[in-house]
């Protein structure tokens, strides 16, 4: 590869202090055939990604951010000066922030199988001229990581200084140093697990059923602007509850009613604020997410099982050279603290350098995304200790 392929990182407008500022996504087009864990092959694929900060001369200051199920590559910065919605981890990433873009070259990639620009079930199958739908190869967390590595190689990265992410992102964080031990220096998984519990698989299955029982799903064969909108919205509404907690929902909504709800109305219109909130979550999700991608990615989550894949967690972690800091959150009942603890205990049993910290929050699984000076200090301390 040559220098011209390294993304130029100067934003079009000066960034506000502490903010990444204007960013734009880029596409990495891999035209080599890619063989999935399932044995299925794609002739090539595209990954959409964003980068912030500068790659140093040694090309070893990259920090990879891995997104969760419904996330994407846009984890920091804004797309236009009047863009009011910065990337999903903007509070953590930026110049002078916990993941300091004045020190690190930050990279975030939409996962393989996703629908925000990377190749997935909603992409056009060149053989048919129609979306892949359920003919898309089954994708695993390991496939996502292997594809990310091809992009890292394309960018000429000598190594990854650190990898971090929560939830599904945390699974990728764990898979990375197993797959490419010498390439990763530090890993920082949060709110994650080495394998989902029956409860987590159960929630994913309800979401998938909501999609597949919607007649508009049509066995995965639907036009790009159509599809099982009702089913996908319900899947999202249900899943969203699992990202929160009883306490946080009670604080945010309580039993408050919409102003429009007539007192004591005996009907099924929206009455409670929590209903209105969930309906909004569902509706905004169908405009940005593909139902088949939702099926594929939740399946990837369910299949992820490092212990089963390697005989035991200790054996899975045996090749790891990176140092680990795993962070759990007390109110996370989707990937609860015990599952995060188990990751660290297995790493320690395998003789690896691994720390565990637990934040007391009442915000549920999504706690890793929230504004917490304690979390920022912890992340900064871990990343900046050479």
């Amino acid at each position: 590869m040559n220098e011209a392929e390294i993304p130029a990182l100067t934003p079009a407008a000066p960034a506000a202090p502490g903010e990444v500022g204007l960013v734009e996504p880029r596409d990495f087009v891999c035209s080599e055939p890619f063989t999935f864990e399932s044995g299925q092959v794609l002739p090539g694929f595209t990954l959409r990604y964003e980068t912030y900060g500068r790659l140093n001369a040694a090309r070893d200051n990259a920090v990879l951010i891995c997104h969760a199920l419904s996330g994407d590559h846009h984890c920091a910065g804004i797309y236009s000066p009047d863009d009011r919605k910065p990337g999903w981890w903007n509070n953590l990433i930026g110049p002078g922030k916990a993941v300091d873009t004045s020190k690190f070259f930050v990279l975030c990639i939409n996962c393989l199988g996703g629908c925000q620009g990377s190749t997935g079930p909603s992409s056009i199958d060149p053989r048919t001229g129609r979306p892949f739908g359920v003919t898309f190869p089954f994708v695993t967390i390991r496939d996502m990581v292997r594809a990310q590595k091809l992009l890292c190689d394309h960018l000429g990265l000598a190594s990854l200084y650190a990898i971090t992410g929560g939830s599904m992102g945390g699974m990728q964080v764990l898979q990375w140093p197993i797959e490419f031990p010498g390439f990763v220096k530090k890993i920082l998984p949060m709110a994650t697990t080495a394998r989902e519990s029956a409860q987590a698989i159960a929630f994913n299955e309800v979401g998938r059923q909501a999609i597949m029982q919607d007649p508009a799903w049509n066995h995965g064969d639907y036009p790009r602007d159509g599809g099982p909108r009702v089913g996908l919205a319900i899947a999202r509404m249900m899943a969203h509850i699992t990202y929160l907690s009883d306490a946080s929902m009670d604080r945010k909504f309580g039993r408050r009613k919409k102003e429009t709800a007539a007192a004591g109305a005996y009907n099924f219109d929206v009455q409670f604020e929590v209903e209105s909130y969930l309906r909004h979550q569902g509706e905004s999700f169908i405009n940005r997410f593909d139902a088949n991608s939702y099926l594929y990615i939740t399946r990837a989550l369910d299949h992820f099982d490092l212990a089963a894949a390697h005989g035991s967690l200790e054996q899975a972690f045996a090749p790891i050279e990176a140092e680990t800091l795993c962070v759990g959150f007390t109110s996370d009942w989707l990937f609860p603290p015990e599952q995060n603890r188990e990751v660290v205990l297995a790493l320690l049993r395998a003789g690896k350098r691994a720390s565990y910290a637990e934040l007391t929050t009442d915000l549920g699984h999504d706690s890793f995304l929230l504004e917490s000076p304690q979390l920022y200090g912890l992340v900064r301390g871990f990343l900046e200790k050479a």
Partner: protein
């Protein structure tokens, strides 16, 4: 150097002398990671700490030490026998609700257990109680009784009695005088301010 820092340095040095180079060490109640860092630097030890408090774990991480936030008994139960070359329980024992269970578990997961504690049989502590009728206070335990530390004050005689009935072998003992620097060989339960023990099952 302030007085508590001098005291800290002396008992840390004794503990470090007992740690084999490059050995695997577990520090129960690791606090902000000062001992972990010292063992990693001076002995190239693979030192892991356990503590309950988030801010302490964050301080360890900032130092580059390995630390686990959680209950020490739960932590040790997750490891096979003799996984650690040495478990260290420095100024932690007297704060535990169940020291016997922790010592038993530490001797299971560790080949050796180092214990360091303030001797509450020290004459000054006795005098405080006798003359002032007050709970002893000193450089380590500066708090009033209602602030709860220590919850289980023990003397050298108490501790050796415990080891005898539990058939725990004392392989090394160091008793330090009231200055916590010079060693004390005569009537330690009365004249020693601080005690360090090395134990095996």
């Amino acid at each position: 150097m302030t007085r508590p820092v001098i005291k800290r340095t002396v008992d840390m040095q004794i503990i470090a002398d007992w740690v084999e180079p490059r050995s695997r060490v577990l520090d129960l109640g690791c606090g902000r990671g000062v001992l972990l860092d010292f063992l990693a630097q001076s002995k190239d030890a693979f030192a892991v700490g356990v503590d309950l408090d988030f801010e302490k774990i964050a301080a360890c991480v900032h130092l580059g030490a390995i630390a686990y936030q959680g209950d020490m008994l739960d932590f040790m139960r997750a490891f096979p026998e003799k996984h650690f070359d040495r478990v260290i329980c420095s100024r932690t024992l007297e704060e535990l609700p169940n020291p016997a269970a922790v010592i038993a578990e530490a001797l299971r997961v560790g080949r050796a257990l180092t214990v360091g504690f303030v001797n509450h049989g020290f004459w000054k502590n006795r005098l405080t109680t006798l003359l002032r009728g007050r709970k002893p206070r000193n450089a380590v335990y500066t708090t009033e009784w209602f602030e709860s530390r220590p919850s289980n004050p023990a003397s050298i005689t108490d501790f050796e009695h415990f080891c005898a009935i539990k058939k725990i072998r004392i392989t090394r003992r160091v008793h330090l005088s009231g200055d916590w620097k010079t060693s004390c060989h005569f009537r330690p339960n009365f004249l020693a301010g601080y005690a360090l023990y090395d134990l095996t099952q």
